[in-house]
């Protein structure tokens, strides 16, 4: 992933929350915007990693017992 993610704005936060069907009162918007920016900023540490064909670390087990 080489395209930098844009900084989260309050307007963007409102749209994302609406699409996620997440109520977002006006008095929550600023805090949520800052927190999402911090979380996505951390997650973007993955941008530099070449995952190649690595599968996800999941634990589905098809056995019935």
């Amino acid at each position: 992933m080489t395209t930098p993610r844009p900084t989260v704005t309050t307007e963007m936060l409102r749209s994302l929350a609406e699409h996620a069907r997440l109520p977002m009162p006006d008095d929550r918007v600023e805090t949520a915007t800052g927190t999402l920016q911090a979380v996505q900023g951390a997650i973007d540490g993955l941008d530099a990693v070449d995952l190649e064909d690595t599968p996800p670390a999941t634990t589905f087990d098809a056995r019935w017992s």
Binding site: L13, L16, A17, A20, R21, L22, P23, M24, R28, T31, A32, T35, L36, A38, V39, Q40, A42, I43, D44, G45, L46, A48, V49, L51, T54, P55, P56, A57, T58, T59, D61, S65
Partner: protein, 467 residues
Amino acid sequence: MMEPYELTLAAASSAIAAGDLSSVELTESVIGQIERHEAKVCAFATLTLEQAREAARQADADIAGAGPRTPLHGIPLGIKDLCDTEGVLSTSSSRTREGRIGSADSAVTARLRGAGGVLLGQTHTHEFAYGVLTPTTHNPWDLSRTPGGSSGGNGAALAARMIMGAVGTDTGGSIRIPSSVNGMAGLKPTFGRVSRRGITPLSWSLDHAGPMARTVTDVALLLQALAGYDPSDPGTADVPVPHYADSLGGDLAGQTLAVPSNWFFDRIEPDVEAAFRSAVSALEAAGATIREVTLPLTETYMAVEYALFTAEASSYHQEALRTKADLFEPDVRALLEAGELVYATDYIRALRARELIKQGWREMFEMDGIDALLAPTLPATAVKTNDPVVHWPDGTDESAIDAYVRASAPGNLTGLPALSVPCGFDRQGLPIGMQIIGRPFDEPGVLRIGSVFEAATDFANRMPGLV
């Protein structure tokens, strides 16, 4: 003369087995500590003292007839409020669950109860284990400071000698952080070693349950009761459970212990680094060979940790966030809102990167012939409750959650067993911890190293001035 509450769990257990101490005497002594200190420390969400007294009387009757059935028989213990206990308020320290009574014992509660433990109550957690501060509770070493979290009630109650052992959970350090800042021992076992049935999840892929106590021996005795496969928790592994106490003591001849040159030392308080380096020297003196290593893929650790726990926590609390959002504490609500907006593709990228981290650590252990890795449990001691920020000597600030989770995340991401032991005090008298990270399911190995270190030092014997 030493009061019963001052004993380690192992010493109390031996005294009970020898007939020198009854469970009732021990339990009353520990309850006395609660009566003296709980109003200041606030470690418990719920106290069950009358049930505990009855359990102690029953334990004494059983022991008189057939001897103790396990080393935990008759021992006063705490349960993190994230873990359900039947018939007892089990609220995850959240107003969203006010009045909620556990309908059944969690697996860990059942195991401790089945081993004969005397349950004194539910200890505070940072709400839903989603934080590292446990703001309800105060650190007995300095009441103005955090007891860490999220198992902060356990850490504070142990330091104040209000319980002798406990079960906690660890998603981003929540056993090791409070163990470190309260001067206690705590083990995040291998992912899959201890069942999480009946424990409110924070993040299914990162959650671990494990023991906390004053000493490594105490932790080993608790783990013996807690460990084991449970088909009702798909995260547990069907791996034989060894006899952990057999691994304790001796020396470290032939052991190769690694000290990372990166990540843990990017930002660290000078007193913490000095205590850690001194601890490494003590282990070298005990016979270990020390080798420096470079940790792989460090740039991904916080990315993977945050992607996994934010998305998974928001999935679990999705409905509550729409029906009673106002009842969440502001810090937890903010993280839950943000987690709703993490893309699925980012979450899966994190799961794929986690696999690379696992492979990278395996190669590091195997190519360098490492038995365990040593690191500071945290880069800093307990922060002030009213200023939960680490102020670095270079003038920069870092939130406590970032600073504490930064050092803890490798243990959660790799799933490897990670034991925190006290390794010193800073110049303000606050405890410092060292973590010992081992190979998968090598709890005996990390406990052995921890026990050798503990035997060479006296940090585990110190008590806060409050006590």
